[in-house]
């Protein structure tokens, strides 16, 4: 079920909120769990049973790790193998089979297993729990209901942020509600929904128009690169805002997942602002266990390379995602080696460098194949013999100019800073939110274009 759908907004959400707050506090986890299972089953009526099984298995393994600590490592290994094995089966098996067939000439049949929605997110969430139990950072959750609620809660189940158990542990036992937190939750949810429906979806239409255009031009390629970078930002950060907002309404505090990444002055900084929960997960559960930056320079570089290849691969079972990860690994290594020093005190250069690097990266990210990426770069840099601009380019630029400008401004803290400066604007906020919901509803009813890019993961 999508947050940006009529079913969620005007059926599921009102019913769930009513049921949740009418339920006595000690049973609210149960209500939330039931609602979350329905939420997930709506899109994955069969895979929901796998998710429940995964929760039960890892609940049991968490208990075993505490009760029988001699074999802690074995229980952790089973958890890792189960989770990563399942992820491998659903997400990566056919990628490996295709490549084995390509290299060896064999014809191993593909499994053609559908990718369950959100599996990459909740698998990493489960693993963070069992690893933290193993490390003794958290105590294993004795209540299966509470653990299941943590893993499956619908606000963050299918698209993050990847929530750490320690961040919600106390809230599973006892949640306080206050007007200010709920209001902030509503605010975040509506603004996130607006980012998704009124900016990301419209920019997505521009990207789709680009792919079907008759008269592509060099400028159109760059418009596409910028538009897709903005689309994925507003799509994903909008979804994160909605998740965080819903969490607040329900009494939870989730970590921020985006912090205006496009104002970064280095790629190092960019990745502290983009998909923060994923970056911190890889840091804590892969990079640091590998040794982080504690060993030799060569070992540090290898660790960075491994982490970024895995980060790319997490995003999708395709070569372009591996290339994307490798691309960032190279940039981060260069920055670590010398580039950060060069960029120091060169703010404008840093901003331009990040925007350029990010635009290039998302062209790789969105490429259907390596061949298409090569074609896209050839077009962008004028090696395809394309005209600089075309009538079609001008038409689409005019058609989407307003949304592009709003997106570019919205990707910076300018709007937030402006609103914060004028307290009196809070008085009209209910009207603004209502107005946004009216327009959002109109777009959802009249539009058929409503993808969520990170559902692939």
């Amino acid at each position: 079920m999508l947050f940006s759908s009529i079913t969620f907004l005007y059926y599921f959400l009102p019913i769930t909120i009513i049921a949740y707050f009418l339920t006595p506090a000690r049973y609210r986890n149960g209500t939330l769990l039931l609602a979350s299972i329905i939420f997930y089953a709506w899109g994955e009526p069969k895979i929901v049973f796998y998710m429940i099984l995964t929760i039960i298995v890892n609940y049991a393994l968490g208990q075993l790790m505490e009760k029988s600590s001699r074999y802690k490592k074995i229980w952790l290994l089973i958890s890792v193998l189960f989770c990563l094995g399942s992820l491998g089966y659903f997400k990566y098996a056919d990628f490996f089979i295709e490549n084995i067939n390509a290299v060896t000439g064999l014809s191993i049949p593909l499994l053609k297993v559908g990718l369950p929605v959100g599996i990459s997110f909740y698998t990493f969430q489960i693993l963070s729990y069992t690893v933290d139990v193993y490390r003794g950072r958290v105590k294993a959750q004795k209540s299966l209901i509470k653990l299941a609620t943590y893993i499956s809660m619908f606000p963050q189940l299918i698209a993050g942020p990847i929530v750490r158990y320690q961040d919600v542990e106390s809230k599973l036992d006892n949640r306080n509600y206050n007007v200010d937190a709920i209001a902030e939750g509503i605010r975040r949810f509506v603004y996130g929904l607006a980012k998704k429906v009124l900016i990301a979806n419209i920019l997505g239409e521009l990207c789709a128009d680009f792919r079907t255009a008759e008269e592509i031009s060099v400028v159109f390629y760059w418009v596409y690169a910028v538009s897709f970078a903005l689309q994925i930002y507003f799509d994903f950060s909008g979804y994160s805002d909605m998740a965080i907002g819903l969490g607040k309404i329900l009494g939870f505090e989730f970590m921020e997942n985006f912090n205006y990444p496009f104002i970064s002055k280095s790629i190092t900084e960019f990745w502290r602002r983009w998909h923060i929960s994923l970056g911190s997960w890889f840091r804590d559960y892969v990079y640091i266990p590998l040794g982080g930056s504690k060993g030799t320079m060569a070992r540090t570089y290898l660790n960075i390379l491994v982490v970024w290849m895995l980060t790319g691969f997490w995003h999708g079972a395709a070569w372009n995602f591996l290339l994307w990860g490798l691309y960032f690994a190279v940039l981060l290594l260069m920055e670590k080696k010398f580039l950060l020093k060069v960029l120091e005190n060169r703010t404008i250069v840093g901003h331009v460098y990040v925007l350029f690097a990010a635009a290039i990266s998302f062209v790789i990210f969105n490429g259907e194949s390596l061949a298409q990426i090569a074609t896209d770069f050839s077009g962008m840099f004028g090696f395809s013999g394309l005209p600089l601009v075309s009538l079609e380019t001008v038409y689409y630029l005019k058609n989407y100019a307003t949304v592009l400008v709003v997106a570019i401004v919205g990707a910076t803290p300018l709007v937030k800073n402006f609103v914060c400066r004028y307290e009196k604007l809070k008085l009209i906020e209910p009207a603004v939110l209502l107005g946004l919901m009216v327009v959002i509803t109109a777009y959802l009813i009249d539009g058929s274009f409503n993808p969520f890019l990170y559902f692939r993961f």
Binding site: M1, L9, P14, K398
Partner: protein, 356 residues
Amino acid sequence: MKKSNLMMIITMSLFFFGMFTWTVLADTPDYSESERRVLAGFPKISVQNILDGDFADDFDEYAVERFPARDMWRGIKAYTSRALLQKDNNGIYTIGDHISKIEYPINYPMLDHAADVMNKVSDKYLTDNNVYFAIIPDKNRYLAETSDVLAIDYEELTEYMTGKMSFAEYIEIADLLDADDYYNTDTHWRQENILDVAQRITGKMGEALNGEFTTEVAHTSFEGVYLGQSALKWQPDTIKYLINRTIENAEVEGAKAVYDMSKLNDKDPYEMFLSGNQPIVTIKNSDNTNGKKLIMFRDSYGSSIAPLMIECYSEIVLVDLRYISSDMLGEYVDFKNADALFIYSTSLLNNSLALK
């Protein structure tokens, strides 16, 4: 606790729960007049349906299509799109008083398909006939002259099609038309404005069309197909028709009448011309004793131009290859001693999959 936050919670709660109540309780129609289509119904509930995911998908579609006051929401979206200075909304755009739909780019596989069907018909049935071919430009051709909306290269399309139709004599009609010869809110041309087109076509086919008609008004609030699709508030059109004694006396088979007034209250009043799209319609003109017969392969545009040509022929047979396969034509149409005219709009040629 800030009072403004409490206000916000109350406001948004009233909104969400109000909308929930409205969606659950509202009785919504299962047919959209403006969109001219049936809307999704409540999905079937069964274990199989649920496990397959069909119930969820169908419910999502139902929730959107049967949302209360659907036309109002579509209108809000349309006007918001205009406020954002977007040139089109779902491909629908406005220029002056006209509403139209972008037809772009040229779809060569579709042109090839259309040409293949026409060539097949010609090879099978028309080897001993005079065959003619005309292309009716859709109004985007003329609207593009005063706007920067994307439009196909009509000259290129015409050249491509005439190249594929070497068995037919091409009749150019585009120079006789402009945007105002089409309804403002619909794709079709106005019958009262295309007499010169009918005269040129019949002239090229060897028949002089005198063209004495009286103009009558059939419908004063015709909301064409684009009006509904646009979801905008717009001045509707007036449907006029041309009548004379020949048309009044003509006998029609396959349609109710040359001008079927019962259609004026239906979903598409333009179907008053020869009862709309029918596989085969025969018009007999007993006033004309020259024995000349015309077989017109046409789309919906042909419905309004064919009545103007009746006086030139003893019989006109209109064939719509979207509703009858060319393989079966021989069983229903006698091609002997008849002229043949293929007359299709550019929108049909560019989306010709339905031709069989």
